[in-house]
């Protein structure tokens, strides 16, 4: 229930090593964050250099094969000085450790759109692409995806300053324990709770509602796009590969021809080349699909922020409700009227009037309770306001990032298409030359 209580705010403050909770500096948040955000990448170069297979025993003592990824970090200055770069610090991490890191970030920074991890299992694949988790192409694409994740976190104005993240990059041993020590797991909201909150919030923030709708739409449209793209890739693959049959038949045919033979034979080779060229084209296009997938998974992160906002809004409304209930009770006691049918009213009718002392002590207790409620409401109000401000600044940042990234993805997709066209023109021109010689 206390996912954003004062404790967590303090912790955020500690981790961010700044006083963003104080209202005066809030206007400067973005600027200071950007300044500090560049710090980590300025200090450090981060990459996921390679992947490797390991075999070991899992928690239930079963043999399993898994993939580990080599994280390399090195001081950035050593590179810019032009000398031989210092040997990088390296450590191995499993995908599950990345997942733990992300869960930790998700819980610790409820108002931030946490960058998504690459998919755990290959989704939206077309038939030639392996869905096997240990498939080298899949592992390679995941390596790129994990590196991208680390770079996204490292360039994020808030997340880049997180100590656990820093330890993830630098301390192979004891990292898991350090994460668990933060106690973040206690703050994990149950999905059920946030679901019920979303149904019960009375005054939803329109901005968040529309953001939620937008990310629902985006999620639908991107998954639709990815599904169709996989089918398009399948079909395109078919069109190209059937041309390999021309390669074969031209070669066979050339055996019975005199003047035409050579031209046919070499045109056949070009048809083989054409058929083979699709493998690289579609492999490259997979990168575009991965870029889209990242934003598909981002929509979950956006929705998670929306959900957390609903939860905090719900808590605020509950506090307000609680307070007004107490105030109503007090009024009833003072005036002796019962506005609504209540259990208390019933008992007083059944067991007779209370003594004056009893009444007074009750009113005093109520007043105390109202005072507490007012404080709690104030606190919740401040908390909500803070959440909204922080969340909204991150949402704005995210929108810009999304527009920039997707525009670039579309440009690179167009470039891929152009290169495919050029390859096609090249191969067919070569074939034409051969046909012309016949």
């Amino acid at each position: 229930m206390t996912m954003a209580d004062s404790g967590s705010s303090e912790e955020v403050a500690v981790i961010c090593n700044t006083d963003i909770t104080s209202s005066e500096s809030e206007n400067n948040i973005i600027n200071t964050m950007v300044e500090r955000s560049t710090a980590l990448l300025k200090k450090m170069e981060i990459s996921v250099a390679e992947a490797d297979k390991r075999t070991g025993k899992n928690t239930v003592n079963m043999q399993e094969t898994y993939t580990v990824y080599l994280i390399e970090t090195r001081p950035a200055e050593s590179v810019s000085e032009g000398g031989t770069p210092a040997a990088p610090d390296t450590l191995w991490r499993r995908y599950s450790e990345f997942e733990l890191l992300r869960t930790y970030l998700l819980v610790t920074y409820p108002y931030i759109i946490i960058p998504p991890l690459p998919e755990k299992r290959a989704e939206f694949v077309w038939h030639k692409l392996s869905a096997d988790n240990l498939d080298p192409d899949f592992v390679e694409r995941r390596r790129v995806g994990l590196e991208n994740f680390l770079l996204r976190v490292a360039s994020h104005p808030v997340l880049s300053n997180d100590n656990i993240f820093f330890l993830f990059l630098t301390e192979e041993k004891g990292w898991r324990e350090a994460v668990l020590e933060t106690g973040f797991q206690d703050k994990v909201d149950s999905r059920l709770k946030s679901l019920s909150a979303s149904f019960r919030v009375k005054n939803p923030d329109k901005r968040f509602t529309s953001l939620k709708n937008y990310s629902d739409n985006l999620s639908t449209v991107i998954s639709q796009l990815l599904r169709i793209r996989a089918r398009v890739a399948d079909r395109l693959y078919g069109v190209y590969k059937v041309h390999a049959n021309y390669g074969r038949v031209f070669s066979e045919w050339s055996a019975i021809e005199k003047e035409m033979g050579d031209g046919l034979q070499s045109a056949g080779h070009h048809m083989d080349t054409y058929a083979a060229s699709i493998d690289d084209i579609l492999e490259e296009e997979e990168h575009y699909a991965d870029q889209l997938k990242e934003y598909l998974f981002y929509t979950d992160a956006v929705r998670s922020v929306c959900r957390k906002h609903e939860l905090i809004q719900y808590e605020l409304e509950m506090a307000a409700q609680d307070l007004s209930y107490k105030k109503q009770q007090k009024e009833e006691m003072e005036t002796g009227t019962v506005r609504i049918f209540s259990f208390k009213g019933m008992t007083s009718k059944l067991f007779g009037q209370e003594t004056q002392e009893q009444r007074e002590s009750k009113v005093a207790a109520l007043e105390q309770s109202i005072q507490e409620g007012e404080n709690a409401l104030k606190e919740k109000n401040a908390e909500t306001q803070e959440f909204v401000e922080k969340a909204w600044s991150d949402i704005e940042r995210f929108k810009e990032q999304k527009d920039r990234d997707l525009r670039e993805a579309l440009i690179s997709y167009a470039i891929m298409q152009i290169s495919m066209c050029k390859k096609g023109i090249q191969v067919w021109s070569n074939a034409k030359e051969c046909f012309n010689k016949m």
């Binding site: 739409n217 079909r235 579309l410 152009i418």
Partner: protein, 444 residues
Amino acid sequence: MSVGVPRGLASSGQKLITEILHPLSAAEEPMSPGPDVTAGADQEKQEPGLTNGAPVEISSPSSASVLLSRLQLDDELEADDQDPYGSTEARDLFVTVDDPKKHVSTMETYITYRVSTKTTRIEFDLPEYSVRRRYQDFDWLRTKLEDSQPTHLIPPLPEKFVMKGVVDRFSEEFVETRMKALDKFLKRVADHPVLSFNPHLNAFLTAKDLNKRQGLALLTKVGESVKHVAGGYKLRARPAEFCAMGEYLDTFSQKLGTIDRIAQRILKEQSEYLTELREYGAVYSSWAGSEEQLQRPLEGVAGCVTTSCGALEDLSDNMSQDFLPVLREYVLYIESMKNVLRKRDQVQAEYEGRLEAAVLRKQEDRTPIPVEVEKCQDKVECFNADLKADWERWQRNKRQDFKQLLTGMADKNINYYEKCQDAWESLITLLQEKQTEDKTSETN
């Protein structure tokens, strides 16, 4: 009928068909009552007006002659360009099949095509003719040619019956494809040093009305089928070159069949690809609707996908209309060639049979080998010579046609990719312009 010594025939060393009876058709007379000869005689009687040339349609003389002279020029250029042998056979007969028209009567609906002729040959009364012919008329001509020139390869007509009734016989594509095939057929006949002098061709090109010959066409067909029954005789030694031709034709038709299947399969894959691609483009459009900054880039991508769809459609249409029919025509052409080879075998078989019988008789009663057998031998040699000449010609044509067909296929694919490339390149220009705009507005 005016008869003259045609130019360009000296090299082939053959006399004009009307001047002498072909050894084969002469020898045929005693064996089976020659339908050809009677048919020819009947024709003379029944269609006295047939050889009278119909004057050129004067509806659009200028455009027709412009077209013809252009075609003539193209043909000559082509000959110089591609056919090293073309120059030895000066062309003086140019035919074109175009302008299909639909005729609807109470009895039937059919298409006629305009057959235009331009010539300097003296067998023709006029330098230009224009007549309208329907498929049946072409079929008649082909049958006549096959019967009167049995030693020659007669080019194929497009298939008479449409497969499975899937295709609409009166659809624009079907008529267009058939017209091209008929044009090809007639051009091949007109370019042939022997066939082009056949009087039936003359009649076909010039007669105003060909209607009266229907019954005769039927008769000759019966005669033809009678002739085929005579086969089934084992040859002692078929010359190696004809064996090689047969083997070549078998392999070639097999390869063409494969190419045809591949081309159809590609068309199928392309049409499935097109279906998915259309949907793919639509998703970009619908995405564009929910974005602000990304709206234009997304719409741009949708536009490129749509352009690519159009280009792909063009490619598929071109392939199914220009590529596949030519392949199929060649399969028929191979069949015609095989048919001639079979006929040659029959003639050789007949000679061998007679020779064998004569040799036996000679051993028994010492009679000399009769003239009849020698005639047979002449016939075989004549057939062989015709066939070899036609084979060479066919090989040259085939080489030209496939060169053209396959470079055409390459061109169509190149054209497809160029259209797509243009679309994507203009999208990039648009996106980058937008980006620099944004950047300048940011710095301002």
